[in-house]
């Protein structure tokens, strides 16, 4: 897979930032509007996969070493489980939502009943959304990249 024509490459590099912004929006507003870590991460990964198809897996593999990609992925996973351990630290129970109601980050509680709420609500939830979002973006992209790269090398029993 050594990439497509020039037109496809330029168009995909133009569109990619919009997909990225939309995906990050879905991750960031997971606790307000429908969405969250998994769904937003999948949107961003679809943008990255578009870049992979447009520019070819050999070029992308050269650009992004797969080793430090899996570094990011374990980073996202560690953030998620650290949030759970912090729950054990502050809230005395594993996975406790210790930020709700506290005046710390994301602490406020929205008005009950239907209505708009600012992003500063939801306690641990937005942080978990970011951690899972980062993990899904990097994880799914590594799967797509490794499979595309491995099936593109033709030298038989590798």
């Amino acid at each position: 897979m050594n990439g497509m024509s020039k037109i496809v490459k330029t168009i995909s590099s133009i569109i990619f930032p919009f997909i990225l912004i939309y995906g990050l929006y879905v991750i960031a507003h997971g606790h307000l509007t429908p969405g969250g870590g998994f769904q937003g991460g999948a949107v961003v990964t679809s943008g990255l996969a578009m870049i992979l198809v447009a520019y070819g897996s050999v070029w992308t593999m050269g650009k992004i070493k797969e080793k430090n990609l899996s570094l990011f992925e374990s980073l996202g996973a560690i953030c998620f489980i650290l949030l759970a351990f912090l729950g054990l630290g502050f809230g005395a129970v594993f996975f406790n939502n210790f930020l709700v109601g506290s005046d710390f980050l994301f602490g406020t509680i929205p008005a009950t009943g239907s209505g708009l709420a600012d992003i500063n609500t939801g306690g641990v939830l937005p942080l978990m959304n970011f951690a899972v979002g980062l993990k899904v973006i990097v994880g799914l992209f590594v799967i797509v990249l490794v499979m595309a790269y491995a099936s593109s090398i033709k030298e038989g029993k590798q």
Binding site: S70, L71, S74, A77, I78, I81, A84, F85, G87, L88, G91, A92, V93, F94, F95, N96, N97, K157
Partner: protein
């Protein structure tokens, strides 16, 4: 010493969280250097095993003194509101008993694979997957929530499938892994379908709440059948055991050791579904529990005979041990089948089961631990031979006892233990199963004993062809395997001998509380719904 109490209070969550955070950290640690990563993984699993033993000692001491001994841990908030909304771990005697097996097997596998895996590549992913598989097994055994059980079942299946395909240059390993993942995926999806059926009817996912709410409607029968078939498929019970010899035979030996733990975790799932989730139903309807008991007993006899006869015909070392493992699962089922088939209505009109029913269940649960250790030791010996001679088929081996002294001693111990000979632990548990099945129906017990002797014959043949005989020229420079493999095999052999010499010590204060915990279906429920 409130630190120990605090750790004990949080230990159900830590037992699963420590291997998980270890697995997430392994890629980072292995970026520094390999030796540090091996030490880090052994430390993580050592910490997990000590947490499991700490929790087990607390549960079993309380159980033997008759105090309520179920640990309940709610994730997310301390108090437990009545429509159970959060996930909670419910650790009773049976689940911590299985967790001990999984933790010990994982620790031994990691120590064994320090030297066994030295010349392979991709080791940081290998150790990450081993830690994830351990976390999956422990989560399966400790959880009190049906959907959580499905999630951990899936973690165990995916990580064990990737580990079976570790030697990708050998085509059969990848094929065995594909067979394993197809069967696991279908089994897990049927478990999810059954959980959805139960959720659709009772709007609850917690095992205790469901066990209390189940009225054995037509849909519950379908959910029960789906659950038992799917989990039996994963536990390698006869009609669906095709994947087991390939998976056990093709995977590296250290992976097979943990795979035995994963298979027995699915067997634990079958027990939990039969005795706790549908426990109320089985206790109330004598006819169904008798018929199901007889079905499981005949299935067990078929498993034993199938395992032993196939083991006779194998020429590959590991496939032969894999078929012996299938036969051993038959003995566990025989104990459970006898227990269920022996229920009767006594003259007061209550449902009770005779004394030999209790010994049958105790024997089969004790046999789970014994079998894990015995078959595990045999697989480690097979791995040691493969490591030293790169040879797996028995026809091309011979005279290895000369230069692999310790491995042959461990093989003798494993050989006696698997076929249930007196000094070893296999004898203790099989004796319990024989004497109870004999009282139910003598023919079953006689077939079981004969099959066990045939198993002995099989392994003596293997011992002769692999270890005795003339020294083959091509094994001239074969030297003994390195230290870390011997340590792992030595520890397992030591546990086997200790359990074999003092069986009643182990049965009285570990196995009996586990068996009682499984049977006390009502105390499991009141511990959640009673809100104690």
């Amino acid at each position: 010493m409130n630190i120990v109490d605090a750790v004990l209070a949080h230990s159900p969550a830590l037992i699963v969280a420590v291997p998980l955070i270890g697995a997430f950290l392994t890629p980072l640690v292995s970026r520094l250097n390999d030796k540090l990563r091996n030490i880090f993984v052994i430390l993580v699993l050592g910490l997990t095993s000590s947490l499991v033993l700490l929790l087990a000692s607390d549960i079993f001491t309380k159980a033997t003194q008759g105090l309520p001994s179920i640990h309940r841990y709610v994730f997310g908030s301390q108090d437990l509101a009545l429509p159970v909304v959060r996930i909670l771990f419910e650790v009773d005697g049976m689940s911590i008993f299985m967790a001990i097996i999984s933790a010990i097997l994982a620790l031994m596998a990691v120590i064994y694979s320090w030297a066994f895996m030295k010349e392979n590549t991709g080791l940081d992913k290998y150790y990450t997957l081993i830690l994830l598989m351990t976390a999956g097994m422990l989560g399966m055994e400790l959880t009190g929530d049906m959907f959580n059980f499905f999630v951990f079942l899936e973690i165990t299946s995916i990580s064990s499938c990737a580990l079976i395909a570790f030697w990708t240059h050998k085509g059969e390993a990848v094929d065995a892994a594909f067979k394993y993942i197809v069967i696991s995926a279908i089994g897990a999806l049927f478990v999810l379908f059954a959980v959805a059926l139960l959720y659709g009817q009772y709007n609850a996912l917690n095992i205790a709440v469901l066990a209390n709410a189940i009225q054995y409607t037509f849909l519950d029968k379908i959910a029960l059948v789906l659950l038992i078939v799917a989990l039996a498929m994963k536990a390698g019970i006869v009609p669906m055991h095709m994947w087991l010899p390939d998976a056990y035979g093709r995977a590296p030996s250290s992976v097979t050791l943990i795979l035995i733990g994963a298979t027995q975790a699915s067997l634990y799932g079958v027990f939990r579904v039969c005795f706790t989730l549908y426990g109320g139903v089985f206790n109330s309807l004598v006819i169904t529990s008798n018929t199901i008991g007889w079905v499981i007993a005949t299935l067990a006899i078929i498993t034993i005979l199938m395992g032993v006869t196939m083991a006779l015909r194998q020429s590959d070392f590991k496939r032969l041990i894999a078929y012996a493992a299938v036969a051993e699962i038959g003995y566990m089922l025989l104990g459970v089948g006898t227990r269920l088939a022996s229920t009767y209505i006594n003259d007061y009109g209550q449902i009770t089961f005779p004394a030999y029913g209790a010994t049958a269940l105790t024997g089969s649960i004790f046999h789970i631990m014994n079998d894990a250790l015995d078959v595990g030791l045999l697989f480690l010996v097979a791995g040691a031979i493969y490591y030293a001679t790169k040879e797996t088929s028995l026809n091309r081996m011979g005279g290895l006892a000369r230069n692999m002294k310790y491995t042959s001693i461990f093989f003798i111990i494993g050989l006696l233990a698997v076929s249930g000979m007196p000094p070893m632990n296999g004898f203790a548990s099989k004796l319990l199963i024989y004497e109870s099945t004999y009282q139910l129906n003598p023919i079953l017990a006689i077939i079981a004993i004969l099959a066990s002797i045939m198993l002995l014959a099989v392994f003596v043949k293997v011992f002769h062809s692999a270890f005795m005989g003339p020294a083959l020229p091509k094994f001239k420079n074969v030297k003994e395997v390195s230290k870390s493999m011997l340590i792992a095999m030595g520890v397992i052999a030591a546990i086997i001998i200790v359990f074999g010499l003092f069986p009643n010590l182990v049965v009285e204060n570990i196995v009996r509380p586990a068996a009682d915990a499984l049977i006390q279906h009502s105390s499991y429920i009141t511990h959640v719904l009673g809100g104690i």
